[in-house]
Point group: C2
Chain length 344, copies 2
DNA sequence: CTGTTAGCGCCTTCAA
DNA sequence: TTGAAGGCGCTAACAG
């Protein structure tokens, strides 16, 4: 069931079949009709592998995420896949589990499959790898790495706005001991979120207390552990911001296991606004990052590198930006009276 | 950077390069060393597309799930990907959103990429499509469709055991008005779960009440709506089983919005045991289906079709079976006194 | 043990 | 407007 059968059946050459499938141009309508009919009758599918081989274009984009198990990512992947498929691209997804070894493997697999671009939505990136990508001139789009090069674009999430509004909200609720649970600090994006938090807190005149800033790992368990640590403090925070929703959910779990409750004893704010956050108890106040927007931007970036409208645009990467929205639900409330430590 | 450059640099023919990479056998150790060195120096990656073209094997498996946004699936995908990559396979994932049109597209894309097998972990399958798969002799493994053919294997989830234990548990807690929120009934797997429930209830001597069995759609929102309906009943159930955890989470949300609480006023039991379920409030009592086991079984099935150990095993599909475990957490409790209707 | 040759399925000049 | 021929990068006989 190759192009040859089709050609034979339509009584034309394989070249003609190829032409009618692709450039429709320069082929007699009648001949074309015969060809299409043959295609339908034989139920013929072109072999994309073979096609890539000759065209040099695989029409595959790679997408690397850190943890497919974090609901934020499937939603992102789904969005990316939707646009991609709509544009005739396939997408190869890979989850690294925050492990840079796996990241290396993922990149390699993608290179082997000749992807036309890769979106790296995580930050554990070895310089060696990114050099490899650049050397092979594979269009790449990063999330929050901040360096734009030839073939390298970047999407910057405007954390500041969201975090600031979140802190404002807590301040207006009378909180002054505010904790922060970061993501794994070897991730650039985690560090960026953390800095945004610390910076704004300082600006707001809340003296930052080192012991209130602790490290999680962007998982539920990580949030649970981090929050437990915070609760051991002589004077635990009255509110906590988490670096992502999973962490926040873990944190709430920790608060409950401690015998306290959210938001009466501790207010909790998440980050991402995964679909879940609206339905858990209590519904989570959080800072939303739009997955669709992110996905579409990433795809657009990759596409631009491949079909530059403007001369030279294909090499110079560009810096995109995504905004962030604060959404108030029920995991935040007025701070518990200062000094009052609920029995645990 | 093709095989030719490597050959030239190592001063051998391309055939020798190919041989040292693949069958290491029959190549002088010294020559091989030179080749490997050249490969390393050039940082050469073989072009998998080209390789597939000649070998006829793409080393890609397709995996079709219904909703990548349901945490059950990413966990499944991750497991599948892990085994696959470990065996040198790539995996092409596609999410259908319960839409059979998208399913058709997904299958087509996979066929075009010449997958060596496809795992269909959802049930909205048009007979035409499955015929197409059979005709092309693409090994396929289904979840719960129940028909084993040439090239078609099936994984049967033993729902009965889990559901029975769940119902037993409710019975022992004094529940007698037990509701059930099914998945979308056009899905075979949803119907299977529903039957298992109804059957056991009948066996247990609880008269089944039609109005207590309602349809959800395996999403949080669906669960929320379905539960709201149940709560409108003159005599609402004291316990509810949901067809999956997402549904259960939605149901709990509905109970709360109704002003009641879980498990005091209504007990809720889920199905799947997604990672989340342990951390929500209250932690969800549920029936676990192991994603890893499922993923590994699916992969094994596909692999078996491709490298049959036994003569003829490649055509006859086989029926695999997965067990199910009941895990008790805190969303279930003693039934509220009969007749007592908590104020809403 | 190694090189030469012939494709895999398709697209793309180059002539006709 | 169409066909013949060559080649994409690689592997698989078949000779040496």
């Amino acid at each position: 069931m190759g192009i040859r059968e089709v050609a034979k059946r339509a009584k034309v050459s394989t070249a003609t079949v190829s032409r009618t499938m692709n450039s429709a141009a320069f082929v007699d309508p009648e001949t074309a009709a015969r060809v299409w009919e043959a295609i339908r009758e034989l139920n013929y599918y072109p072999d994309l592998q073979a096609r890539s081989l000759v065209s040099g274009k695989s029409r595959i984009f790679g997408l690397i995420v850190s943890d497919i198990t974090n609901p934020f990512f499937p939603e992102l992947v789904k969005g990316f896949e939707d646009v991609a498929v709509r544009h005739g691209y396939e997408v190869m997804v890979s989850s690294t589990n925050y492990d840079s070894g796996r990241m290396g493997l993922a990149v390699r697999r993608m290179l082997e499959r000749k992807v036309e671009g890769v979106g790296i939505m995580t930050s554990e990136m070895e310089p060696a790898l990114i050099n490899e990508l650049v050397r092979r001139e594979v269009p790449t789009v990063f999330l929050d790495v901040g360096e734009v090069h030839h073939f390298i674009s970047n999407i910057r999430v405007d954390y500041a706005t969201g975090i600031n509004r979140a802190v404002d909200h807590l301040l207006s609720l009378g909180h002054s001991r505010i904790g922060f649970i970061s993501g794994p600090l070897r991730l650039k994006s985690a560090r960026v979120r953390r800095s945004a938090f610390l910076q704004y807190l300082t600006e707001a005149g809340i003296l930052e207390d080192d012991e209130l800033v602790t490290e999680g790992d962007h998982t539920i368990d990580g949030g649970l552990n981090a929050m437990s640590r915070l609760l051991q403090l002589p004077d635990p925070p009255t509110a906590v911001l988490a670096s992502n929703d999973l962490t926040a959910i873990g944190a709430m779990s920790a608060v409950r296991r401690h015998g306290w409750s959210v938001p009466q004893d501790v207010s909790v704010i998440g980050f991402d606004d995964i679909h879940f956050s609206e339905f858990i108890e209590p519904p989570l106040t959080t800072v939303r990052v739009s997955r669709t927007e992110l996905a579409e931007t990433a795809f657009r970036a990759l596409l631009n590198h491949n079909q530059p409208e403007v001369e030279g645009a294909e090499v110079h990467g560009v810096e995109y930006s995504i905004t962030t929205t604060f959404v108030i639900r029920s995991s935040t409330a007025v701070a518990r009276p200062p000094g009052r430590l609920p029995a645990s």
